[in-house]
């Protein structure tokens, strides 16, 4: 089993394998996002409480999911790297923070634009908002540690250990709205008793989320290919 995995863990081969997957991701993501945008902006009904502003949800919630999912991905890849020591895992994990930080920024900005009409302020220091801000700083820290160890052998290890330590923040974010009574509304889609959201809003949200997720994968895969090529450049230029 491990030996089979090892065959695909060869960076050059991996780079070739993800080539078609990457393109499929891009060409499904773009139409899905377009459909999601059109339904979400013009055809979905307004909320009975929040009115038209609920349309911000389609981009806000989808990017929030992506930013959390990205961290889980980094965490898993780091754990795999520490167990099996394939450098490919950490190479993949290192490419995620930069993409994820943009999605976290989108989440925070759209969230505050959603908060102004519904709560009356752009920003409150409540549990979920603060913990999401901390997530942003943890991503920044991960990028920073990658840069600080650029030509050091221990960089990979430091990166993966830091991402494992930072994973403590993820459950805090996920459950912050359930544990504390805060301004932010509790989870309404992913919860034990099934979604509490109107089906007409759920459909565009799901389409949008799938589209953005595929786009995220496209960006990650492209970055991974670049990183593999970068390694190759380093190898070639240090050869003689």
């Amino acid at each position: 089993m491990l030996r089979k995995l090892h065959k695909y863990a060869n960076p050059n081969k991996f780079s070739l394998i993800i080539m078609p997957i990457k393109n499929v991701c891009l060409y499904t993501a773009l139409p899905l996002i377009a459909i999601g945008l059109i339904i979400g902006l013009f055809f979905s009904p307004p909320d009975y409480q929040q009115g038209e502003t609920v349309r911000i949800m389609y981009i806000h919630v989808s990017s929030a999911w992506i930013s959390l999912f990205a961290y889980v991905l980094i965490f898993l890849l780091s754990v795999f790297y520490l167990i099996w020591k394939f450098p490919l895992f950490v190479l993949m994990a290192k490419e995620i923070p930069f993409v994820a930080i943009i999605f976290t920024l989108i989440t925070l900005i759209t969230g505050s634009l959603w908060g102004k009409p519904t709560w009356g302020t752009y920003w409150v220091w409540d549990a979920r908002l603060t913990s999401f801000l901390i997530l942003l700083f943890i991503y920044l820290g991960l990028i920073f540690i990658d840069k600080a160890f650029k030509y050091n052998v221990n960089g990979d290890l430091s990166f993966s250990y830091l991402s494992i330590i930072g994973a403590i923040n993820i459950p805090i974010i996920k459950f912050s709205v359930d544990w504390w009574n805060t301004l932010h509304q509790p989870a309404s889609v992913i919860r034990a008793s099934g979604p509490s959201i109107n089906i007409e809003m759920l459909i565009p949200l799901m389409i949008m989320s799938t589209g953005v997720l595929l786009l995220f994968f496209y960006l990650i895969f492209t970055n991974i290919q670049s990183a593999i090529a970068e390694k190759k450049i380093l190898f070639l230029s240090s050869k003689d």
Partner: protein
């Protein structure tokens, strides 16, 4: 086993005293505190909220500053290498280091903070809360800092990067700590239980991960 812990703790304690870094943290804490009345420009008492935040902010920064030389000297002069080759259990070393670090960067602050709060605000009813929440929070600062200090050992820009990377991990602790100090908070036990939960998980988890990091990063 107990004996070894005691020996290493004693040596670390001595190192701290001899290398003059022992008084650094508490002096930094006091200096940082003095800034607040000056910056608020008031010749009278500070407001209670302000004095509490001043104490928490100073604690945070004093701990951040002290973190840098937790493992630095032992790494640079090779003592850690000798510990590992000679199979001295690193768990004991890490626990001893955390304890001695806390004795110099946590304990003095805990003892001195209620007094500072009284001097600054002229108000002493929240002192017990401040005392308890500091007792719970400062060991967590040390414990969270220890793996991060260990994994920045090989990096060239250690000091600045360490401060930047550690700060986000300290933020939840300071949130709960300030909430626990607030005397108007009716549900104050909840924060203490939460800090206690983090402390009791952290006291196992963080030293373990520090040992792993030190072992893999040493060469």
């Amino acid at each position: 086993m107990n004996n070894l812990f005691y020996i290493i703790l004693k040596k670390d304690f001595k190192d701290n005293l001899l290398s003059n870094k022992a008084w650094f943290t508490i002096s930094f804490f006091l200096l940082c505190l003095i800034i607040f009345p000056l910056a608020f420009g008031s010749s009278q008492y500070l407001e209670l909220n302000v004095s509490i935040s001043a104490i928490w902010i100073s604690t945070l920064f004093a701990n951040l500053i002290a973190l840098d030389h937790m493992y630095k000297e032992d790494y640079n002069d090779g003592t850690l290498l000798y510990y590992i080759v000679n199979k001295v259990p690193l768990v004991i070393v890490v626990y001893a280091k955390c304890l001695s670090h806390w004795l110099f960067s946590g304990l003095p602050i805990i003892l001195i903070a209620p007094l500072c709060s009284y001097i600054f605000s002229g108000y002493s009813e929240n002192n017990l809360n401040l005392f308890i929440s500091l007792i719970l929070a400062t060991p967590i600062f040390t414990l969270i800092g220890s793996p991060i200090a260990a994994l920045m050992l090989g990096s060239s820009l250690r000091g600045a990067a360490l401060t930047f990377i550690t700060l986000p991990f300290y933020l939840p602790i300071i949130i709960f700590g300030v909430m626990g100090t607030n005397i108007n908070n009716s549900n104050i036990n909840a924060e203490f239980y939460l800090l206690l939960a983090i402390l009791s998980i952290g006291i196992i988890f963080f030293p373990m991960i520090t040992v792993k990091i030190l072992k893999s990063i040493i060469n």
